[in-house]
């Protein structure tokens, strides 16, 4: 569905990510992992079209997206930024309805139909109770869910999420990721998300792109590519991988930093 071919991206003449290729199938959850400063955000901005590709192509449904209009792109790709506080106290339902912007005329405002789609998105994430709340007054976890709802209201094929779990407490991290995986599975939406936690990739991702230092890119299923050596190289931390079986019988590999006494 989404295909990145030999893409190089960066700012101005500086190349941050070099010659990266991967693709994304419907319903797939791809985790983008890497230490600070290796170009996760740069790659994201390039996929979103905020930064120009320095080389390569990005194909969506087999078409080169560089010629697509903003509106057309926004109907296929939803972007979930990190939860933030805008300067004005919009209602949650209005924020979510903003996801409909690409589907309505430039000079018009959303119809009842658009609001209904926004309401459905809230309901899918189990946060209908936030409908009338003020976006600036709800908690960080709720805000992140609202932003996901907004992206779902775009009715996209692909969701791009920038560190959806940063700034969230332990419970909210898991809740958000559970919702994301469910959305991917149920609605066959492909998801790319960045995270700082290798365990999130190990627990949720179906595929992983590891960005290492010096433009090193590794792609593959998380339990294959997230190795002790990678963690050491990328984060300069000694970590050990443990295979466990949780009480529901699911086998997962988790990484645990080796802590000295």
């Amino acid at each position: 569905m989404l295909e990145i071919r030999n893409a190089s991206c960066g700012y101005g003449a500086k190349t941050v990510v070099k010659d990266i290729s991967f693709s994304l199938a419907p319903g797939e959850l791809l985790c983008l992992l890497g230490p600070n400063g290796v170009g996760k955000t740069t790659l994201f901005k390039t996929i979103l079209g905020s930064l120009k590709l320095q080389a390569g192509t990005i194909l969506l449904h087999g078409e080169d997206v560089s010629k697509w209009s903003r509106r057309r792109f926004a109907r296929k790709v939803g972007y979930v930024p990190q939860a933030h506080t805008p300067p004005f106290p919009f209602r949650v339902i209005d924020v979510v309805t903003m996801g409909r912007t690409a589907h309505i005329g430039v000079f018009s405002s959303p119809s009842a139909h658009d609001v209904a789609i926004a309401e459905q998105a809230l309901q899918n994430l189990g946060i209908s109770y936030l409908r009338e709340s003020i976006y600036t007054e709800i908690s960080g976890g709720e805000r992140q869910l609202v932003l996901i709802a907004r992206a779902l209201a775009q009715q996209p094929d692909i969701l791009i999420m920038d560190e959806p779990t940063s700034n969230l407490d332990f419970g909210n991290q898991i809740k958000v990721l559970d919702h994301v995986r469910e959305v991917a599975k149920k609605d066959r939406i492909s998801v790319i998300l960045t995270t700082h936690y290798p365990n999130h990739a190990l627990m949720y991702a179906s595929n992983t792109v590891l960005l290492g230092r010096n433009n090193k890119v590794t792609i593959g299923p998380p339990e294959e590519v997230i190795t002790e050596k990678y963690l050491k190289d990328a984060y300069q931390v000694e970590a050990q991988l443990h295979g466990i079986e949780n009480r529901r019988g699911r086998k997962v590999t988790l990484c645990v930093p080796v802590v000295y006494a």
Binding site: K45, P81, D94, V115, Q154
Partner: protein, 344 residues
């Protein structure tokens, strides 16, 4: 569904409320002034243009109503709504509640244009044209700075900094003109213009400025949903499908046309463009679908009220720009301290 209808209904009622307030003040304003005309008499004179009402007033009254008070009242309403709506649009677009319509230098440019016109003894109309043109020119210069340095930082911030620089530059040009101007005639005229006021308005001024102001307002209203989305920042707005560059440009053009037209007949009227959008947001929330119309009506009401006070409060008329500041500042502080958090 019920809830949604309820919200929409509440907003409509609120808009009707401010409209009614404006209408009441509009009619009342015809009786305010040195020459006493009772409200019912004023209403009768006004209606006599449309209806056939037996003439029971003296012709002076009719002259005062139509030649003096009507243009002034219309001017106050137009200028007030103009400054408020552009302030509201800019605050959202720059994502900054401290922004006012003169942020890109339009007022400073217009002041320079007017001062220049007075220095060269232009006619009244030409002074207005000069103010209007230089107002646009100043914003043009700011946009140029914005375009040149856009790559170096966040576009909104670059524009604001550019506006501060251009504004300072034009303000110093005004000082140069004041410095060389004839201190007996030109200098007082310039100083008086800079204080802002509507004392010399005639009906032709109204005709001249209504076109750009109403057209600009119509476009801003059409862009109301995009303004909502822009409040979340350029990157998100783009990801949601807004063509941010051209939308931003359209908003700047409209707000500049509106403000330059208003300032060209009124001079500098401080605070209105900052306070009224806040007042409107306090009343109907940040949603531009309601904020734009309410800012327009509330802005007209606010400036009309202040102008009425400026006309009759003291034996001498207070320049309007001074009155808006003196009345507006404490009023704004009161609002800041007495309302729930997060309303900005």
């Amino acid at each position: 569904m019920e809830l949604k209808k309820q919200v929409k209904g509440t907003m409509t009622i609120k808009l009707l409320m401010v409209s009614f307030l404006f209408l009441a003040l509009f009619l009342l304003s015809f009786s305010i002034g040195r020459f006493p005309i009772s409200p019912d008499m004023a209403a009768a004179i006004l209606l006599s243009k449309i209806l056939n009402i037996p003439n029971h007033w003296n012709p002076d009254m009719e002259t005062i109503i139509f030649q003096i008070r009507l243009p002034r009242i219309l001017a106050a309403a137009l200028v007030g709504s103009a400054l408020s709506v552009s302030g509201a649009a800019y605050q959202g677009m720059f994502r900054n509640p401290m922004v006012s319509p003169d942020i890109l230098g339009v007022t400073a440019g217009a002041s320079f244009g007017a001062a220049l016109g007075m220095l060269f003894s232009f006619s009244g109309i030409m002074i207005q044209v000069s103010a209007f043109v230089f107002g646009l020119a100043a914003v043009g210069a700011t946009c140029l700075i914005g375009a040149l340095f856009a790559k170096r930082g966040e576009p909104g911030l670059v524009m604001i900094l550019g506006g501060i620089i251009i504004g300072t530059l034009f303000t110093s040009f005004v000082s140069i003109i004041k410095y060389v101007a004839d201190p007996y005639n030109t200098l007082p005229a310039i100083t008086f213009w800079l204080m802002g006021g509507l004392a010399t308005i005639n009906i032709h001024d109204i005709y001249a400025i209504s076109a750009p102001i109403l057209a600009g307002m119509a476009v801003l209203f059409a862009l109301r949903w995009n303004l909502n989305v822009l409040a979340f920042g350029d990157e998100e707005a783009r990801a949601l499908g807004v063509r941010t560059g051209i939308t931003r440009f359209a908003i700047i053009i409209c707000a500049t046309l509106i403000t330059a037209a208003a300032v060209s007949i009124s001079g500098i009227i401080a605070l209105v463009g900052l306070i009224v959008p806040h007042l409107a947001r306090l009343f109907v929330g940040p949603d531009y679908r309601y904020l734009i119309p309410v800012s327009i009506v509330l802005g007209a009401t606010f400036l009309l009220a202040v102008d009425d006070l400026a006309r009759f409060l003291l034996a001498v008329e207070i320049p309007l720009g001074i009155a808006t500041s003196i009345i507006g500042a404490p009023f704004f502080l009161y609002l800041l301290f007495n309302t729930r958090k997060g309303w900005i």
